[in-house]
Symmetry: C2
Subunit: 229 residues, 2 copies
Amino acid sequence: MIHSYSSEDKVLLAVDCIIFGFDEEELKILLIKRDFKPERGKWSLMGGFLKKDENLDQAANRILHHLTGINNVYLEQLYNFSKVDRDPVERTLSVSYFALINSAEHNTELTENYSAKWFTLSEAPSLIFDHGKMVKHAISRLRYRASNGPIGFELLPEKFTMRQLQKLYEAILGEKLDKRNFINKINSLDILVKLDEKDMSSSRKGSFLYKFDQQKYKRKIDDGFSFKL
Amino acid sequence: MIHSYSSEDKVLLAVDCIIFGFDEEELKILLIKRDFKPERGKWSLMGGFLKKDENLDQAANRILHHLTGINNVYLEQLYNFSKVDRDPVERTLSVSYFALINSAEHNTELTENYSAKWFTLSEAPSLIFDHGKMVKHAISRLRYRASNGPIGFELLPEKFTMRQLQKLYEAILGEKLDKRNFINKINSLDILVKLDEKDMSSSRKGSFLYKFDQQKYKRKIDDGFSFKL
DNA sequence: CCAAAAGTGTTCGACATACACCCATGA
DNA sequence: TCATGGGTGTATGTCGAACACTTTTGG
């Protein structure tokens, strides 16, 4: 048995995370101001390098935790960006990941303890290297995933109103949806539980809160059900 | 300006290609018998290592050409497989690519000059490392792409019959399709040209040949059209 | 004349879309 | 009492699914 592929080239492998959040109205991404060279002072995605004793998912989790204090969020590998001169310092490939976080839960902590900032998609500054391309790619994957699986709930608090859910989907899909049709469709999926509780913050009448029913969803999936929105 | 990220780990990056072909009846993948260690003599995907002066798409094209003599085919990056001990020799990550080739055009050349062999999906031998996982992933991507874009034509000769096209889609999707519904749907897309020519090899009556009209398709796309099958 | 594949339309049901009014409440 | 957002059902059109017979021609 041989012990190395000794004549082959090795490369640096970065991991960059596109972190999505939702603030009741708009879809946002979390960026940090770089405090190191090159491009110090410019805005960038959260990133870091793969270490030799971890896989990419682990690296993405580690980087996310290190830069934001956050753990246990939805993370998904997207694409490997490999243009030879994409990083001016040294040949580096970057694997992009997208993350979904419930920003209500983490907002203040984030912006105070770490120098991260939320930007709406339209207000986001231009990013270093090919990070802009990564964001575009991530948005299109997010749309796909949100339309084909119950992934949107990752961006909401555990309990949420129908209106919040609708606003979220409108933000993800970039289009207005009809209130009645949306609710009918969601109800026909039969994967939410309506709670006895109301959220009173948005109106005088108050609106019922719902929870995503993970167990029920899994049972339905095993039964051939497929989520489509 | 700094000139290296000197303290970071570097890794070997492989590229492995899942090559799909179609032989009038079944979807196949092209494998080679490894003539080097480790796992010499076992079947594997076509693979090689990324070199420092090329990007991943270039590497995939180079590897494909080197191992099969084929150039200019549809290639798409899929996923980074990064488990720490996936390759027993040395830490290696692998980026999988899937390729679509018109096997009629390349068949004999391939199996004679190179030690490659076509396998139907059900007859394929078990593969080294995590190559089996890569194939599964590639099939699901192929299904998605073929359902949402005119990518199936990459697997057919330039001129083809409706029946061939239907068989191809049946093979990709893994289900029988209704002849009339299929033809109606394809015709309603309005992206094929019917030729005056018939293919006489499959029946006494002969069946008309069609070509995919790239120009027309592009015009329709620019016009907001979206391919769905 | 017969076997074997090619070609061709219509009906029916399901699902998506469009659309407007009453309700409950706090101020 | 009124302003604000919450909640609810129906009618219509579109698209996908099921389905069977005639045509051609080489042997």
